[in-house]
């Protein structure tokens, strides 16, 4: 019970233990200095990066910044629209970063950036077969989440709302259903706007939360990183503590017995 009370038990994914349950996306930070400060403030041990064409005019090295902070890289396949492109991108990321972990994104269209379910499942299956530790970015569909775990994904990353929308968790019932329906860790990904969204995800039973834009595009990204860290811990503790049921009418918190009569 001690670890439940302190919320300190580590997150386990594919045999790796992470003491922080906050995953940080590196996209959108105005500078690498600010990213480094936000990594420290967030306490995150796992940060996502994308793979893009080498830019000869790039200022500073992202990978050096991440290495300096001593955190692990989780490559993503952002920008891939087909299983084929996502599989090639994952293999390139494995070469580049010497990790077989991948945050699998297969996107259906540019306006919503919602996952393309059939292509996602196909890519997940191929990458698991190739020995990857696959963490798929998926919809909040409990059936698809179960299918992804069935083909061997190490965790599932359902969305709260579309990427970058800051709309929070649009269907908390589905997120709770996903948590009930799979054994693998559930990492809420996308849609987070502020700290209360993160706390809700953890209260719903999610094992971790991934945040990118809500930190990197906040007016003060470092302060928001600290807020998200506290929210993960608060939500985790509240989930373990067990909330009271919702009721329409009041229940006095002060005993009625012994109330004086002034009539």
């Amino acid at each position: 019970m001690a670890s439940t009370r302190t919320g300190s038990e580590p997150l386990r994914i594919a045999g790796r233990e992470l003491s922080s349950r906050l995953l940080l996306g590196t996209g959108g930070f105005p500078s690498l200095e600010l990213l480094a400060e936000a990594i420290r403030a967030s306490g995150s041990e796992l940060v996502t990066v994308a793979l893009r064409r080498v830019d000869p005019n790039a200022q500073g090295s992202l990978i050096d910044t991440i290495d300096r902070e001593g955190v692990e890289v989780l490559p993503n396949t952002a920008g891939c629209f087909t299983a084929r492109d996502a599989v090639i991108t994952a293999k390139l990321a494995r070469e580049a970063f010497e990790t077989n972990w991948v945050k699998l994104e297969v996107i259906g269209d540019e306006d919503t950036l919602l996952p393309d379910a059939p292509e996602l499942l196909k890519a997940a299956e191929q990458l698991v077969d190739e020995g990857f530790v696959v963490l798929p970015y998926t919809t909040d569909d409990p059936v698809l989440a179960r299918r992804l775990v069935d083909v061997g994904c190490a965790a599932v990353m359902p969305l709260g709302a579309p990427i970058g929308s800051g709309m929070g968790i649009r269907n908390p019932y589905n997120i709770a259903l996903i948590r009930e329906s799979v054994e693998a860790p559930v990492v809420l990904d996308a849609g987070i706007g502020t700290a209360s969204d993160v706390a809700l995800a953890m209260e719903l039973g999610c094992d971790a939360v991934m945040v990118a834009s809500a930190i990197s595009r906040a007016q003060d990204p470092v302060a928001m990183a600290a807020a998200m860290r506290a929210a993960v811990e608060a939500g985790r503790l509240a989930h373990g503590a067990g909330r009271i049921p919702r009721k329409t009418y009041a229940t006095p918190s002060t005993p009625v017995a012994g109330t004086p009569d002034f009539s």
Binding site: T26, V49, V54, P56, I63, A96, F97
Partner: protein, 67 residues
């Protein structure tokens, strides 16, 4: 001639992937860099020996900030 990251570029016959990567100022075995030729991954261990064929489409990729 090859197409490097979407742009045409002169290419010496038999030039290896390693030489191309170095010509981009990335060092000999830069961490965080990966190479694909004609849609196939070239493993790091093969960079010294893999000769890029004329007309190949080459992608040299690295870490970028992303969610």
């Amino acid at each position: 001639m090859i197409v490097l990251n979407g742009e045409r570029r002169e290419h010496g016959a038999g030039e290896a992937v390693a030489a191309l990567v170095q010509s981009l100022g990335l060092g000999a075995q830069p961490r965080g860099v990966a190479v694909a030729v004609d849609g196939e991954v070239v493993p790091r261990a093969a960079w010294q020996t893999y000769a890029i064929p004329d007309g190949a489409r080459v992608e040299v990729l690295t870490a970028m900030q992303g969610g």
